[in-house]
């Protein structure tokens, strides 16, 4: 089932089969060259597989953009311990709804990506960790896994290759922090989702303290193409240093919000105007978040010449992130936006480290009173100061994720904070019910 019409400017690689009848079923997948990448990989050495992934310039699609081939090469393949593949399907970064679409429409593509990763590091078991709210996707995945076992694409001696692999789903139970890789691994072990100190990284001591490849759903979904068509073909779709396409979730004030698969390096302007159908009601763009609420916010002028890729966003001191694009028009109250974003991080902070637990809570309190008209002039600097003091001082990057958008909003939209002090009515009206 699709949620939005595709757009002609999309480059459909991961979504190539979307829209076909019963896309989740194995028969259709096999008819469309499904599992061919795995069969190719099964004839290659692990080094050759990893080499193709390196050539593809695939970078992690979960938010951090770490080069995938390099990550895989860190796994000590010859370690006597079992190795594991873990799929991060926690998808909870506000603005992001792409992994959901990938699992729902083509679960076998994900299974094939996992199998290839298994070949690359000599792993024989994997877990697909899916957030608890996506219960129907656990059913989709369980069904696909059962089909794959029935047709010999999972289990012992897969298709006569001599390679064994078992795959399981694992449900989350409501916690953004469990998307953070080490917290996810704790959760997978039946514990509270609290981050682990690193190093050691999951590649060396991940699931059950064994070497583990942990990637985002979209990252694994790109792997079958890379093996089937070659790493170079994938690299050529994108730009230097960033291969392939990015599942992009257009959200907020555009005419056609939706999930679209765009080449890396796609111009932001064209994305908004053409793919997104332009700003809703002909309003002006005020603020732009490229990849989920954890990224620093950009203003309209900063978007001049910007492209949807890692370097273009880094040059503007923000991040491509998860692909959750959030577009806000001129009527949006940025104080309210900052408050809502902070309420999220305060709710989701796992409480393990003090700068994050206290910082998010205090920022929520100050932003709440500010938005309700009870703020003072010193509060504006206080918000920025608290956020800056969190940066880089928390146990895991959740603290940074809370601080970065806040700092950027206070710096770039200071006048709106001043307006709230001067009794000017908030462009968007007073805060909604604050329940937490």
């Amino acid at each position: 089932m699709l949620f939005n019409e595709p757009h002609p400017l999309e480059t459909r690689v991961l979504t190539r089969r979307f829209g076909k009848p019963d896309t989740a079923a194995i028969e259709g997948y096999l008819a469309d060259d499904g599992y061919q990448g795995f069969l190719k990989a099964a004839k290659m050495t692990p080094e050759q597989i990893i080499e193709q992934v390196k050539i593809s310039n695939l970078r992690g699609r979960g938010g951090a953009g770490f080069p995938t081939g390099m990550k895989w090469s860190f796994v000590p393949r010859t370690s006597p311990k079992p190795k594991y593949i873990v799929v991060n399907g926690d998808e909870s970064e506000p603005g992001t709804c792409k992994d959901r679409v990938l699992i729902e429409n083509d679960p076998h593509q994900l299974i094939e990506g996992v199998l290839i990763a298994g070949l690359a590091v000599d792993a024989h078991a994997g877990y697909v960790y899916i957030r608890g709210e996506y219960r129907y996707l656990i059913d989709v995945m369980d069904k696909a896994i059962a089909e794959a076992y029935a047709k010999g694409w999972l289990g012992k001696n897969i298709q006569g290759t001599g390679f064994d692999f078992d795959l399981y789903t694992h449900t989350g139970a409501g916690a953004y922090e469990c998307g953070e890789e080490s917290a996810l691994l704790e959760s997978l072990e039946g514990k509270r989702g609290i981050p682990r100190i690193r190093p050691p990284f999951p590649a060396v001591a991940g699931a059950f303290q064994c070497p583990t490849i942990l990637n985002n759903v979209e990252t694994f979904c790109a792997v079958p193409y890379i093996l089937r068509e070659g790493g170079q073909a994938f690299a050529d779709l994108g730009i230097p240093k960033a291969g392939g396409t990015k599942m992009t979730c257009l959200t907020g004030h555009v005419n056609r919000p939706g999930v679209y698969e765009l080449k890396l390096g796609f111009p932001v302007k064209q994305m908004i105007e053409e793919v997104g159908g332009g700003m809703r009601n002909g309003k002006k763009l005020k603020a732009f978040i490229p990849g989920g609420s954890s990224c620093p916010v950009l203003t309209a002028s900063e978007l001049e010449g910007a492209n949807m890729d890692y370097d273009s966003m880094a040059a503007r001191k923000t991040m491509l992130g998860s692909g959750g694009v959030i577009i806000m028009d001129e009527d949006t109250c940025m104080v309210k936006a900052a408050l809502r974003i902070m309420r999220f991080y305060a709710h989701e902070s796992c409480g393990w480290c003090i700068p994050c637990r206290e910082g998010t809570t205090w920022l929520k309190k100050i932003l709440t009173r500010f938005h309700e008209g009870q703020g003072t002039r010193t509060d504006i600097n206080l918000i920025g100061d608290i956020a800056k003091n969190m940066l880089g001082r928390t146990f895991c990057p959740l603290g940074d994720a809370a601080a970065m958008p806040t700092i950027s909003i206070v710096e770039k939209f200071r006048d709106e904070f001043e307006d709230h002090l001067n009794g000017k009515p908030c462009a968007y009206e007073p805060a909604g019910v604050v329940t937490v």
Partner: protein, 160 residues
């Protein structure tokens, strides 16, 4: 404790899904699937899950309090979850939430007197491009207007 055959089958599968000695991994999935059948996580369920995975009830309790979807008290038969996070907010998700509260006469994490409905203001549920979004139990509803919400809730009321 006895469970339905489907749930027993799920438990059995879960207990063999993890490496030997790692049965504790099954804890959260077992609690989630059992909660779906029983309505909430009872003391009895905690004891049972603890026994089956070989940990103490305290260890289960310590873990479950971390997760926002695990509930110690029953929710309404229909648990209405309204997202007010940023992408939904840009489509008046906050007003939709207020509307739902008024309509049901309850607020965050409360249950109606007849036990039919409960409501929760929730964080991003992964439906941001089809905002504003709500979930009723596990079912997603996209592009929800106040009118559409009324229809949904009225329809569920009739179904009882």
């Amino acid at each position: 404790m006895t469970f339905s055959p489907q749930l027993e089958a799920r438990f059995e599968k879960l207990l063999t899904s993890y490496p030997p000695g790692r049965q504790r991994s099954a804890m959260i999935p077992m609690l989630m699937y059992a909660q779906d059948e029983l309505g909430c996580v009872s003391d009895e369920l905690i004891d049972e899950v603890a026994r089956r995975i070989g940990v103490t009830p305290l260890q289960v309790n310590e873990v479950l309090t971390y997760y926002s979807m695990l509930h110690r008290k029953p929710l309404g038969k229909y648990h209405v979850q309204v997202c007010t996070n940023i992408s939904c907010l840009l489509y008046d998700g906050d007003k939709l939430y207020e509307h739902a509260c008024k309509k049901l006469g309850i607020t965050h994490k409360e249950v109606t007197a007849d036990g039919q409905f409960s409501i929760e203001e929730v964080e991003c549920m992964g439906a941001c491009s089809w905002a504003p979004a709500i979930q009723i139990n596990y079912d997603f509803h996209h592009y929800v207007t106040p009118e559409k919400l009324d229809q949904l809730l009225d329809g569920l009321r009739k179904k009882q």
